[in-house]
Amino acid sequence: MSLQYCADPSLLHGWQWLSCYLLTPKHQLFYTSFLVVFALLAITAPVVLLLGFAGAMAKRSSFLPLRWFGSIYTSMVRGVPDVIFFLFVPIALDQLVEYARHKIKCPDITAPVYQGSDFIVCAAAKMPTSNADAWVHQLWGFSLAVIAFSIVFGAFAANTIHGALQAVPHNQLETARAYGMSDSQVFRRVHLPQMWTYALPGLSNLWMILVKATPLLFLLGVEDIVYWARELGGAKTSYFEYPHPDWRLWYFLALLVFYLLLTWLSGKFFARLTDKFSVDKSRSKANSIKPTLIGIGR
């Protein structure tokens, strides 16, 4: 996609130059990288919910080791910055996978994998294999990022869901039991549906945090919007087709506006949803104090 008058950029001026500049192939890659953000959100959000649910169930389990596991999982994000997980989980997973493949594919190599300052596995165990296409490497990197995000935010979600399960009034559950429902029936028919109204404020908060954490993809080496903003914004000498001074400020301003819009729209959406599902409409109107959200994730 390119406009006709863009054939020779050096002759262009003003808005014509700008319109051609903004349609260069690299800029089109920049625009598509916004889809990476949405893809990450679309994939992680359901996984996060699922993990959060599993974590909350583990925390409620009557089996002690499982309960410990659930408690450790949900409390780890409270003491340790999420950035550490984002840096640690992808490398650690990468090495664990390669180590496992190394053990399976090359069982006759007995040398330790950590040699001095190297991590050495046999060629067949490399992940992805060295002859794989570039897109496989990209996809593998993105998948590791998705897993890291899911683990961290799953722990936050587990906190929320566990809290919401606790918040369901006891008499509702007792009433259900009095009607002769079994434990699993009480859980499925009363506890779980009632839980959602209590979990909604927390989950909407979690969504905001997830949105605001997406630029951290850049740290994981994914070619996301931050990557392209730095790449395109940097000063271009006359060697380039479209020379310009350092414009990173404007690119980051665009990202700032993009995120403000995204959180603003999400806020509107969740406000509507909360209105619809709020437990007691008259009370929520009278108590017009907005739930103060907390600053995790930033």
């Binding site: 409390s75 630029p215 995120y259 103060t292 907390i294 600053g295």
Partner: protein, 279 residues
């Protein structure tokens, strides 16, 4: 090399005291613990200054948001929206670029008799530039918490204050503010913890580490890169962060006790350590 020697060499490496060259190979566990610990100084520096300074701006912002005047309320609303609605990571990048386009040799402000030159070159350094961003960021988040608490101050308290003849600043200082702090304190504790965690982002965003003087996570990722083994440096950094998180909880709990000292012990609200996701 003994561990004591390593502490002498690298204990204050993050602020430029001691050995200049970072360990490159055959890195021992002791070196990792000491180096990451020295990086922690930066995290503490950012967190303490940002929280202490942010506390005052946050109080001002919360009061401004509660103002009847549109001219005072709206700017405060926008400030909070700007910093809470966008990722801190992008704020760092943006601020760094903004500070770098400022003229290198300072801005001259002509006054009547003399000219003041404001040195702008410090702004692109992390110790000031990143601190400003963190300060504004935590102010916005804390202002939201304080504003919520301000709105929740019981009407009866205010009426009683009026009846006793309190007004203006005295009413705020003696009646509103203590109650505001009591109500906000549990959430504010969380905010302090998460701001402390956010300091780990500084050297991964726009602000470069000058002469390899970085924070705990900067050194952890450096060591993970050099040893190609993430399983040692990152857990060390995590342990440091957990330890200081517990310290923050301890300090804020003590403050909470003092704020609620007039209440019988069974009525005092405990600080909740979990993120208050459900409200």
């Amino acid at each position: 090399m003994s561990c004591v020697q390593i502490i002498a060499d690298f204990g204050l490496r993050s602020i430029g005291i001691g050995e200049r060259i970072l360990p490159k190979k055959d890195i021992s566990i002791c070196e990792q613990i000491v180096l990451i610990g020295s990086g922690m100084l930066w995290n503490l520096y950012f967190a303490i200054l940002a929280v202490v300074l942010g506390f005052f701006l946050a109080t001002a912002l919360a009061v401004a948001r509660n103002s009847n005047s549109l001219l005072i309320r709206k700017p405060a609303d926008w400030f909070v929206f700007l910093f809470r609605g966008s990722p801190l990571f992008i704020q760092f990048f943006f601020a760094y670029e903004l500070f770098s386009v400022l003229p290198r040799n300072g801005i001259d402000i002509p006054l009547v008799l003399t000219t003041i030159t404001i040195d702008t070159s410090w702004l692109t350094k992390a110790w000031l530039g990143a601190l400003i961003v963190l300060f504004l960021n935590t102010s916005a988040y804390s202002a939201e918490i304080f504003y919520g608490a301000l709105r929740a101050v019981p009407k009866g308290d205010l009426e009683a204050a009026d009846a006793y003849g309190f007004s203006g600043l005295t009413k705020f200082r003696k009646i509103i503010w203590p109650t505001l702090l009591r109500l906000a304190w549990p959430s504010y504790t969380n905010e302090a913890i998460f701001l402390f965690h956010a300091t780990a982002l500084v050297f991964f965003s726009g602000f470069p580490a000058w002469r390899q003087k970085g924070d705990a996570l900067y050194y952890a990722s450096y060591l993970a890169e050099k040893t190609y083994n993430p399983f040692i440096p990152y857990p060390i950094a995590a342990v440091y962060f957990i330890a200081f998180t517990l310290l923050i909880i301890l300090l804020f709990n003590a403050a909470n006790k003092r704020l609620n000292r007039h209440l019988p012990s069974n009525e005092q609200r405990r600080v909740r350590y979990k993120p208050n996701l459900v409200r």
